[in-house]
Subunit: 517 residues, 2 copies
């Protein structure tokens, strides 16, 4: 038995069931080990950013890590952007990066680089296997580190000779993993007292607070105290749809956020951190806690925020108060000949989306237009672009679909974002995943046109406009999808989109709908 | 004037004429500065790996740096793999990475990461602008660092507030840049004496030694001493074709290389380092200097190897000896109905390739099959995959075409490699570049099938085979190219390819030919 096989068997024992991979020569013994071992599914990706994005989506839906298998420093580099998103989603990922054999590194062969250094900025933990005898213990450590208690990316650097060694390190059985930190009773009491005393409190939710149970508890707290419910602009996974409590997503721009939070005198942080602006702008504040508001931290990202919210709800309302939930939304009348816009995409989702769907949102401006329409529609999980690194949607959809094979997945992508990681479509086709990719073709980095105006850099001339425009040439997303084996349709009106969505759902498997907006 | 404008004007004064970019909000003042300034051409790329690969190709052909403009740590991450290739090509690149405003970084907003840390593994120098007053001096430093004397990637981290400041740092005029280190006379004498004394010397060429003047001097040395001429397996730029001296590329696999070098008693290193294996294998040597051979270093990558070779040639042959050069190759008879293979692609290039073409080789196994056919054909520069990070070819072709608008560029890509950075096709179309992309569609990571057998990991089972196969589904490269605005053709026979190549050359602009092999 190669050491690589011990590593794979140990990972399987820790509950790691899927490996998203793009291997190379230095990973061949891992490939052989995956080949020989039952219990871990290997999913080939054409680009490492697809593999890491898939691992992110998997972790958000499965609540446990998948592993990756990447090829040296450059392969890890290709995966960094979606590891960044995973890190910002507090998504557990075991990121395995093969490296040259230990004796080979000092020869400085062409593919040599500092693989650990590449991983470090986007990892909460980086471990370098120094000897074949360590592979199993390091694998357990990587899994445990991915669980946190603040969950995230644990990168394991595996030299080829440590994988190919026949030293037969023992396979390790399932080991306990860290749980989130408990929220202590004093904190709950302090927050409860602050809420009782406040005149316009805001409960600011993030991370797991936006899961169904967290929102339910938050709803009870709101009903008991009058607190307004907000959530981070970008949350890893939001439980939405009929029968669920809603919180308002904080506006993307700082001035929106400050206006929304208004004259609140108390901000209770539950699962997140005090709000900050996404980007800095000249002469604009970065911190968005309104002046005069007191901040109380119920739970941060490493804490058991759901239990904390439930304890807080008990403290405040002793189980009696329940929030009023609006009735399930009925889809408004469709005007089929209207030019398509993100709102009509939202209405069609309201009409056709199966219960318990998953939406991976990588459509910066357009996603915001879809979001409100389905708030009280069919139940779904909405996965946000947590780290702002575009190119997350179609890869994330792979992982979400692998974690939840019975659910329908939608990837909402801006055309600029989709162009980052379109190779994901091939893996969707190969694995026959039920993913409907909706590309919003506005032929522009639309958000940047807004931003260029906002930063006060003056009126854009032709060169600046060209740097933000995607219309020369226009991408043909039906051809791009078909090139990777995914059938495509184009919709230019509300009616065309509605029909295309119905057809895509009936057909099953991966589908592309180009929403020309 | 924004500080960003001072930075751009300073760069232009240092000879930087092109910016390969994918900007975001934190780069908007750089976008505005590029917009307002004459003398720097902005080239939009849909993915950062395209921008960095283009900068690599540009540097190899222009012998000076282009700059990039990337968006924070994740954008830099997406660019790392082709920066790695540039680093391994000793290609000067000024890699500009925008970052959050200095006050914003501490707020840990979603896009925050250690941008300098991301760049460090693939950069020879990383500078962080700490104040707007520094932008011009840091820009000059970055350009100088890119020139070395060992040329490479200089990364400049630019916080948004340092770009948007109106502090008006002065624009700096052209400054001298480091030249390569001179090879001293003693070294030349020592090497000359060693060559005279050796019985089977090998001159091992790399980097600029493989430019036309370096090869000419090497040819004279060989004629005078009987030295055999070898070069690195992967060289940044090889001058080839009729009237030029050839050196043999060292075999990719260690056992090939050792057999080729044979019983040499002297290895003279000129522009490179002593040969090492690309990957490590169990029980195989990594160092490929034959046992018993003495090594003499004439020049390393930081040295003026061309002048060194010329001085060595003078010392050995006093200007009299000239190498015999073979006549220009005539294309062999074409058998049009034969199934296509890389050799037939080479023959068609021999038949149709214009003089002074540029070939960007990202076709691991197939490129090796094309290479020998055109050795004495039309003059051309052959750019190798120096760092082994696949996905270089189509991006590199952008930069080569920008540097040499009068030359015909070919990108040779494996289908696995092409899938890494296919977004490059869009920029080729947008900029109407004369690039013919040839994708070798073997529907496999072919080299990995070879490697899996070589590493001794046993016979591959179905799961391993699936991890190395690209045939389910097969990618349709004509559709993928057309999706990005590049016309495509498919060839399955020698005759079909020959006709397709003639048509593509006649049409001009970017073209895709799918070579089904």
């Amino acid at each position: 038995m190669f050491a690589a096989e011990s590593l794979v068997r140990t990972l399987i024992n820790q509950g790691v069931e899927v490996c998203f991979t793009n291997p190379g020569t230095s990973e061949m013994h891992m490939v052989a080990a995956l080949d020989r071992t039952e219990g871990m599914r290997s999913v080939l990706c054409l680009f490492e950013g697809v593999a890491t994005g898939a691992a992110d989506g998997y972790a958000r839906m499965a609540d446990k890590p998948a592993c990756t298998l990447l090829h040296l420093g450059p392969g890890a580099g290709n995966g960094l952007a979606n590891l960044h998103n995973a890190r910002r989603a507090y998504a557990p990922v075991v990121n395995i990066v093969g490296d040259h054999a230990r004796d080979h590194i000092k020869l400085d062969a062409p593919l040599t680089s500092d693989a650990a250094g590449v991983c470090r900025p986007m990892s909460r933990w980086v471990g370098c296997v120094a000897d074949a005898s360590e592979v199993s213990t390091m694998a357990v450590e990587a899994v445990q580190q991915s669980y946190g208690p603040e969950r995230g990316v644990a990168s394991l650097i595996l030299p080829a000779d440590c994988a190919w060694s026949d030293a037969e390190p023992s396979v390790i059985e399932a080991q306990p993993v860290p749980a989130p930190n408990a929220v202590d009773a004093t904190t709950v009491e302090t927050v409860a007292a602050a809420l009782r005393a406040a005149t316009d409190p805001v409960l600011f939710l993030g991370n797991d607070a936006c899961r169904e149970d967290g929102l339910a508890a938050a709803g009870r707290i709101a009903a008991a105290t009058g607190a307004r419910l907000f959530m981070d602009t970008f949350v890893p996974r939001i439980a939405r749809g009929h029968g669920r409590v809603s919180a308002k997503r904080l506006g993307y721009f700082g001035e929106q956020a400050l206006e929304e939070l208004g004259a609140t005198d108390l901000l209770v942080i539950a699962g997140s951190k005090p709000p900050v602006a996404f980007f800095a702008y000249p002469d604009q504040p970065g911190e968005l806690t309104p002046p005069g508001a007191r901040t109380e931290i119920l739970a941060g990202p490493a804490d058991d925020v759901i239990a904390g919210l439930q304890a807080l709800a008990e403290a405040l309302c002793s189980g009696q108060t329940e929030p009023d939930l609006p009735a399930q939304s009925q889809a408004p009348k469709l005007f089929p000949d209207e030019p398509l816009n993100p709102g009509y995409v939202g209405i069609s989702l309201l009409r056709h989306m199966p219960e318990d769907s998953i939406i991976c949102d990588d459509a910066t401006t357009s996603g915001m237009g879809v979001f409100p329409w389905i708030e009280h529609g069919p139940r779904h999980d909405w996965l946000c672009l947590t780290g702002g690194a575009i190119g997350s949607g179609m890869p994330q959809a792979i992982g979400a679909a692998m974690a939840c094979p019975d659910k329908q997945v939608f990837a909402l992508c801006g055309d600029g974002a989709a162009a980052y990681t379109l190779q994901a479509l091939w893996t969707q086709a190969r694995e026959k995943l039920d993913v409907i990719n909706i590309v919003f073709a506005n032929h522009s980095y639309l958000v940047l046109n807004v931003e260029l105006a906002r930063v006060g850099a003056g009126d854009p001339g032709p060169a600046a406009q060209q740097m933000l425009s995607l219309d020369n040439p226009k991408m043909d997303w039906v051809k791009l999808a078909e090139g990777f084996g995914v059938p495509g349709q184009t919709a230019r009106t509300a009616g065309e989109f509605d029909s295309a969505l119905a057809r895509a759902l009936a057909a099953g498997g991966p589908q592309m709908i180009v929403a020309e907006i």
